[in-house]
């Protein structure tokens, strides 16, 4: 077989398999969802893409909070059955095993858009998805204001919320693992006390 014939055959073979692959590329199952169906989902990105229309003030948020949130998260956002929401700045640096860092929206959450997203989807616990976009914007305004992150005359909406710079915005780093551990000594220190479980 000449080189040219081989090349032609190879090209033909390649073309055939490519055509087969293209044919198999999609099975075509399922249907195309409508814009209305997809529009019902909420999943904003930190830069604000995907934030819905609407707005809310701190005062409106306070009212919604007292009716919908305070029973679990506390009158003063101090926590209860639900997480504590404010305070805790400065407690994240902590090398004391007996003392807990206080992780709240104020001290720990890196993005304000996450607050809207989570409350909209999953809160209140026993009636998730029941709050309007305006109510959720108002709640974000109230919580962030109580956390002294935004002024109390702020109006939260799709433009203002993503601009909020959270105190712990730069508090995160990518996964560094697998970790590299110091080699284990052949004979571990045997004088370590054995601590029995409770």
């Amino acid at each position: 077989m000449s080189t040219i014939t081989r090349a032609v055959l190879a090209t033909l073979l390649f073309a055939t398999s490519a055509a087969l692959a293209a044919e198999r590329a999609t099975f075509g199952f399922g249907t195309t969802p409508t814009e209305t169906e997809l529009g019902a989902f909420v999943s904003p990105l930190p830069d604000g893409r995907g934030m819905p229309q609407g707005s809310g003030s701190v005062l409106e948020g306070k009212s919604v909070y007292q009716q919908q949130c305070a029973s679990c998260h506390g009158e003063k956002l101090q926590g209860g059955i639900g997480d504590r929401l404010i305070g805790g700045r400065g407690t994240l640096v902590n090398d004391d095993p007996r003392k807990a860092p206080i992780k709240t929206v104020e001290s720990y959450w890196p993005y304000a858009t996450t607050l809207f997203d989570y409350v909209k989807r999953a809160m209140p616990l026993t009636a998730p998805g029941s709050l309007t976009d305006d109510q959720v914007y108002a709640l974000t305004a109230y919580i962030l204001s109580e956390a002294n992150i935004v002024p109390d005359d702020v109006i939260m909406n799709a433009e203002t919320l993503p601009q909020v710079v959270m105190p712990n915005r730069d508090g995160f780093m990518p996964d560094h693992r697998p970790e590299h551990f110091a080699p284990v000594a052949k004979t571990p220190h045997q004088s370590l006390a054995i601590v029995p479980a409770k």
């Binding site: 720990y108 996450t114 370590l192 029995p196």
Partner: protein
């Protein structure tokens, strides 16, 4: 075998026998049927009377003499909570579906599969909507795989806290999962250039969401509708669960209803404020997804009592999110000397692997440990080594991803307890 389990069984049998003696025909036994079992009369000699007849239709139950159950960790609400697998009594590598650990953030969703839809949209050429029937038409695969909650062992960082292996290690389970490769579905929709992440969203009351790197999604993720030969269990995400092999449990989104392709992570609540690892310097590791190699001796383990000196088979499980287990060593002297355990085939990547080690106990105090090595060469560290890297920053600091070596203390009376020894 756990002495305590044997004792419970004896008590159960005694009660049954007493009831029979009183002519009550094992009434107590019927009242006492353990979860997942159906109670039947217990004849004194089963060779002298026929057993119960075969039903025309049935869904089998376990023996009424078996009592192992999942147990819930006492969180403040049973809606956001977890239950743990009874590893001590486990055999082989597969976890019975009814004992697979649970972690749910707003209860167990009840979903009619005929009404369930999966949406695929965002940075794709062809947004799609699938019924469960549609999804079942695609070419499918099955694989045995472990799932482990990243919070497995979170009580054990600074001191031994929980008494049993169920509560120290029971947030890991293995099932055979069946479904469609996520790559098939993404190719179907046509991922656009520039896409790097996707959001997976659950259809439960938490509308649980996590961002997943597109590279991982295309590599080996699975849209699972089957578990251990039948439809996936409700508490595992019926009718559809995303499986992200080797990665922390919560990213394996249950009750999956939506996938949105994007160029950036969505920074959801779970991947910012919750499943992140805060270090003593105040910085937190994010997207620590892989479950590193880990092993534990399940038998004997905490609260068991050895039946005297002599031969005991030490048995346990090893697993790694990065691949297959290559080796497990066992120490009976608190880590001074180590000897290789036997690994039971099949030894599968990202799957529980059973190890066994013959031990003749001389009746003296002993500390039992296991240490595994995975196919990447990663060696399971001691808890001390982990703490040296991550620090101990309090009860809610760096609680996730504890994969240190577990120590069980055997006292001269045979009692086994959870200890720290490194």
């Amino acid at each position: 075998m756990a002495g305590s389990t044997r004792k419970r069984r004896r008590e159960f049998l005694l009660r049954s026998a007493a009831a029979l003696g009183a002519g009550a025909l094992a009434h107590d036994a019927i009242a006492d049927a353990p979860l997942g079992a159906a109670a039947h009369d217990v004849p004194a000699d089963p060779t002298k009377t026929p057993g119960y007849p075969l039903a025309e239709e049935s869904y089998g139950a376990r023996s009424q003499f078996e009592t192992e159950v999942r147990r819930r960790f006492k969180t403040s609400t049973p809606l956001s909570s977890w239950t743990l697998t009874p590893l001590a009594q486990g055999m082989g590598i597969v976890t019975p579906s009814g004992l697979h650990f649970e972690r749910s953030h707003a209860g167990t969703a009840v979903i009619d599969p005929d009404k369930h839809r999966l949406y695929v949209h965002g940075m794709v050429e062809r947004p799609r909507k699938y019924t469960m029937r549609d999804l079942r038409r695609f070419p499918s695969i099955s694989r045995l795989m472990f799932l482990e909650c990243s919070g497995n062992g979170l009580t054990e960082w600074s001191k031994p806290t929980m008494p049993t292996v169920q509560f120290t290690h029971g947030l890991t389970s293995t099932s055979e999962w069946t479904g469609v490769p996520l790559a098939t579905i993404l190719n179907e929709a046509g991922v656009r250039a520039g896409a790097k992440w996707l959001l997976a969203e659950g259809g439960d009351a938490a509308v649980m969401t996590r961002s997943i790197p597109l590279e991982k999604a295309m590599k080996d993720c699975l849209l699972a509708y089957g578990q251990n030969g039948e439809a996936i269990r409700p508490e595992q995400g019926y009718p559809l669960r995303l499986l992200v092999p080797g990665c922390e449990g919560n990213i394996n989104i249950k009750w999956l209803r939506r996938i949105e392709v994007s160029d950036a992570p969505f920074m959801t609540r779970e991947e910012t404020s919750k499943y992140t690892d805060l270090f003593p310097d105040g910085k937190a590791v994010q997207f620590s997804l892989v479950m590193e190699a880990k092993s534990v001796i399940t038998d004997p383990s905490g609260t068991m009592t050895l039946d005297g000196p002599g031969f005991h088979e030490i048995a346990g499980l090893a697993w790694s999110g990065r691949g297959a287990i290559r080796r497990v060593d066992v120490s009976v002297d608190g880590g001074r000397t180590w000897r290789a355990a036997r690994l039971q085939a099949p030894i599968l990547p990202i799957c529980h692997t059973r190890f066994r080690f013959p031990w003749t106990w001389d009746g003296r105090e002993a500390i039992l440990q296991s240490r595994c090595v995975d196919e990447t060469g990663y060696v399971q560290p001691t808890i001390g080594q982990l703490v040296a890297v991550r620090g101990l920053n309090g009860p809610i600091g760096s609680v996730y991803h504890l994969n240190g070596i577990q120590s069980w203390h055997v006292a001269t009376d045979g009692k086994v307890t959870n200890v720290h020894h490194y």
